[in-house]
């Protein structure tokens, strides 16, 4: 399926970003330039322990700014944490948000910004374009190579009472500045490197086969797929190699630019439901579901999947559509295994009885809207079953 380029109006949204080594050190200058005087610094305890939050705090203080440090963020950030953060933001009289960390810290920071300006509950802003007023300036410093929240118009928050992750999709949550620094990746463990790397791969694949793809998103998606296929195994094996980290970080950025504008598909819809249910790492959820959704989607986007296989460097010459698809799924499974991600959902505690409930929630996720094959609740339940 080749999209009819130029027949449809398309938009491409991206923040100002600085990519490269030591980009993070520009945080104080940007905070000041964006008019910040009292900075609300959002991070999580793990990233703080690794020293990245403290470094940012020291830089901001050295610039003469007043900093309030907020570390109340858990993996899969929760609605309650967002509300506490928003209260602390207002109480401290802050006027600018800096997020240092992975997707959790950045999504929580986005939620804090939304509530700080628009009041109400963070759950009020679920869905597309539901944020009426722009939030305070936001600077993101990602410390994982996969989330891409630093460039995306997405914020994913865990609705703890419903046990599901909600998606907030709005131009309002695109950060003002992203400082993307590969150096921050060296503190990730090999397994987290693998999970976030596969997350970036899923972003790129889902964006490429999305029914909202466009020529510009295609470029970034394919380049991200190529970079991850070529470098993720090596980076997992050599965590200290900054060159490899740089390539994975670049892949994550490109995947982020792609999916932020082309959106995602059923992998994310299912992973959001799963992550809300079991509090599993988002990348790991994606990795476990991806091969099954790819197989499900093959009939709807055979040509596109072939190009994905080519970008992954798989030998597909002469293969028919069916065999090409099988080779692609095998390629993804192999990459997953070689990065150290094994087993299925059953090994993570998911039971057959949980599947209807998971599917029930997953079918509500907006990511389904851009999946190349419109899913039913039953389809998603079957896909969960395959991933067990």
């Amino acid at each position: 399926m080749e999209s009819p380029a130029l027949e449809e109006l398309r938009k491409f949204v991206a923040p100002e970003f600085i990519f490269g080594r030591d980009a993070r050190k520009l945080v104080a200058r940007y905070a000041r330039k964006l008019g910040g005087k009292r900075i609300f610094l959002v991070s999580d305890p793990g990233v703080h322990a690794a020293g990245w939050a403290q470094e940012a705090l020291d830089l901001l203080v050295a610039e003469g700014l007043i900093v309030t440090l907020f570390l109340g963020v858990s993996p899969n950030p929760r609605d309650g944490e967002v509300m506490e953060g928003a209260a602390a933001f207002r109480e401290s009289g802050s006027d600018l948000v800096v997020a240092v960390g992975g997707g959790s810290a950045m999504d929580c920071a986005k939620g804090i910004g939304i509530v700080a300006q628009n009041r109400g509950s963070i759950l009020d802003y679920e869905g597309v374009d539901q944020v009426p007023e722009p939030m305070p300036p936001l600077i993101c410093i990602p410390t994982t190579g996969g989330t891409s929240a630093d460039v995306s118009q997405f914020a994913i928050i865990n609705n703890t009472s419903e046990k599901v992750k909600i998606a907030i999709i709005s131009k309002a949550v695109v950060p003002d500045v992203a400082l993307i620094d590969p150096c921050t990746l060296v503190t990730m463990s090999p397994y987290l490197t693998a999970c976030t790397g596969i997350d970036a791969l899923v972003h790129a694949i889902e964006a490429f086969v999305s029914n909202a793809q466009s020529p510009i998103t295609d470029l970034h998606a394919l380049e991200a797929i190529r970079l991850i296929s070529d470098n993720l195994r090596a980076s997992v094996a050599a965590p200290g190699d900054l060159e490899l980290r740089g390539r994975i970080m670049l892949a994550s950025l490109q995947a982020g630019l792609a999916f932020s504008n082309a959106s995602l598909g059923c992998v994310h819809a299912m992973a959001h439901s799963l992550g809300g249910f079991l509090d599993l790492p988002h990348g790991e959820c994606n990795a476990l579901i991806l091969p099954h959704v790819m197989a499900y989607n093959l009939p709807a986007a055979g040509d596109r999947f072939r190009r994905i296989g080519e970008a992954m460097g798989l030998p597909l010459d002469g293969l028919g559509e069916k065999n090409c698809g099988r080779a692609l799924v095998d390629g993804v499974l192999e990459l997953r295994r070689s990065c150290g991600i094994h087993g299925g959902l059953g090994d993570r505690g998911v039971k057959a009885a949980d599947l209807p409930g998971l599917a029930e929630k997953a079918i509500e996720d907006p990511c389904n809207a851009t999946n190349p094959r419109p899913p039913t609740r039953g389809d998603l339940e079957a896909l969960y079953a395959e991933a067990l």
């Binding site: 398309r10 597309v128 999709i169 909202a212 389904n368 809207a369 851009t370």
Partner: protein, 549 residues
């Protein structure tokens, strides 16, 4: 295929070409808000100007000062009242504006006391203030003081009203009211006096017309004397009420003063009521005019008499009382200190609160027409206040009433109690030049003095007295009326003493305050006696002047 429908809308939303997805500038909104703020700012400024105009339009002066009295803001009326210009005010404190006759420290203490009073509502007090640039120019203001906040600071907001004019008017009104009262009284007095004169004339006629009976004679005379005394009392009360009667305070034991009067008053009250007298031991001395104690006791006893029923008891007591701050707070007239208390209580009919409230008002009376002037308790009140004391009343209808009169304790223990020494009428043999233009009084005086052994040269005219003295008449004491036709007593004294240094003179007067200022009588060797006088009163006064060194 509901889902599919939804998803296609969702896809459109994600692609982001909808109205709500478009990038939006908040600049116009920001400018609107700025403009709104500017309008609000302008409105506040105008409102401030309005308030400033109102602030400066008040005729009362306003001073906003901090808790140490430093002036923060004032209005135009304040500048006019104190003769200041705006820039200077911050250099002054409230202390600089307050008249400080007792010195800055004592004045400061008074201000501190005022500021320490609790409460959020305004408290009002009267102060004497001054212009900082002309500190000798003082005037009276009524200050209404309220706590408040001024910017971030706790302050006092003082509103000052010049009450000098009001005070003058009040004083004039008081005088006018007194004059009116005098007018009203005149009728009553005339009536009463006329009655007494009728009694006197009746008995005198009886005496003149009937053969002399040595057995009846003294009792007839006593009736005459009593009628005359009653008239005298009436006049005395009138004078006391008008506060024109000069008082002659002496340090005295209140028990002795009461003891003398209550015996006499026992008869006045009548046999059918029990009168109890309970003097306290170790009573503190007072400094009082004994006549005033008489007046107080007489009035209170007469009041009690009219309130009691046969079988009831009237009790007179004395006591010591120390008034502390708490007590003083509860009784507005009371000040802290030691007091000697005279209590007159009865077990009579008592009074309801609305009557108690008014009993000290002049001309308020519950008595039948002709039985009371309504001046008795007003006179008591006046006397007590004149002596810096206070009076309290407790009354329960049907149970009785108790008046407690508090006199300040006299603290100079060294002074002798003079009253006891005056109990008897002293006698003498000296020669007295008696000058009195009223023939009957001249005759009376001569008889009284001669009955005590004195030699008397009676003169009906001051010129006659002068001539007699110039012709070599010898005398030891000049006893003269103050107000006489041709030459007053003072002038006579001056003329006679020119040739007789150390001349001893006793001035007599019925109504001296208007004619002469007591303080300005020649002090050395001179005395003063209020008319009408008793025999004892006259003899004591004569002896006192004669015995002076």
């Amino acid at each position: 295929m509901r889902r599919k429908q939804d998803w296609s809308e969702m896809r459109e939303g994600i692609i982001g070409l909808g109205e709500e997805s478009s990038r939006r500038s908040f600049y116009p909104e920001l400018m609107d808000r700025l403009a709104e703020l500017e309008r609000a700012q302008a409105e506040i400024t105008r409102s401030q100007e309005n308030l400033w105009t109102v602030f400066n339009s008040m005729s009362d002066a306003m001073i906003i000062h901090d808790l140490e009295g430093r002036i923060l803001e004032v209005n135009d009326a304040m500048l006019a009242m104190f003769g200041l210009v705006r820039g200077m005010c911050r250099n002054y404190t409230v202390l600089d504006l307050t008249a400080a006759p007792e010195g800055r420290e004592a004045t400061w203490a008074r201000l501190a006391e005022l500021w320490s009073r609790p409460g959020d509502s305004a408290n009002t007090s009267e102060w004497k203030v001054r212009r900082p640039l002309a500190p000798e120019e003082t005037f009276e203001v009524e200050v209404s003081l309220r706590r408040g906040r001024w910017y971030e600071q706790e302050v006092f907001i003082a509103v000052l009203r010049d009450i000098s004019e009001r005070k003058r008017l009040e004083a004039r009104l008081n005088e006018t009211q007194k004059l009116e009262a005098m007018g009203q009284l005149a009728g009553g007095i005339a009536h009463d006096t006329n009655n007494m004169l009728a009694v006197i004339l009746g008995w005198v006629d009886l005496l003149l017309e009937t053969p002399f009976d040595p057995g009846e004679f003294p009792s007839h005379l006593n009736r005459i004397r009593k009628a005359a005394l009653n008239s005298t009392e009436l006049i005395r009360q009138l004078l006391a009420f008008a506060r024109r009667q000069p008082i002659q305070p002496v340090v005295a034991d209140l028990n002795l003063l009461v003891d003398g009067t209550q015996r006499m008053l026992g008869r006045l009250i009548g046999e059918q009521y029990a009168l109890r007298w309970r003097p306290a031991q170790g009573l503190w001395p007072v400094r009082m005019d004994p006549t005033q104690v008489d007046q107080i006791l007489t009035n209170l006893l007469l009041n009690a008499r009219d309130a009691v029923r046969p079988g009831d008891t009237i009790t007179i007591e004395t006591a010591n009382l120390s008034v502390d701050a708490v007590y003083a707070q509860a009784h507005p007239d009371a000040a802290e200190g030691d007091y000697t208390v005279l209590v007159v209580s009865d077990t009579g009919q008592g009074m309801p609160p609305e009557v108690v409230e008014k009993i000290f008002e002049p001309f308020f009376t519950t008595k039948a027409m002709g039985r009371g002037t309504g001046l008795g308790l007003a006179t008591v009140y006046g006397i007590v206040r004149q002596n810096h004391g206070f009076i309290t009343v407790y009354s329960v209808p049907g149970k009785g009433t108790s008046f407690r009169v508090h006199f300040p304790r006299f603290l100079d223990e060294g002074a002798a109690t003079e009253a006891a020494a005056e109990a008897r009428a002293p006698v003498g043999t000296e020669t007295i030049l008696l000058v009195e233009d009223e023939e009957s009084l001249l005759e009376l005086g001569r008889n009284l003095l001669e009955s005590a052994g004195y030699r008397v040269a009676p003169m009906a005219h001051p010129l006659e007295a002068l001539r007699w003295a110039e012709e070599g008449g010898h005398f030891d004491l000049l006893a003269t009326d103050l107000v006489m036709p041709g030459m007053n007593g003072r002038e006579l004294h001056d003329k006679l003493s020119a040739k007789r240094p150390g001349l001893k003179t006793l001035f007599l007067s019925g109504y001296p305050a208007g004619a002469i200022d007591l303080d300005r009588l020649p002090g050395e060797g001179c005395g003063f006696l209020q008319k009408p006088f008793t025999r004892t009163g006259l003899l004591q006064a004569v002896r006192r002047v004669l015995d002076r060194a």
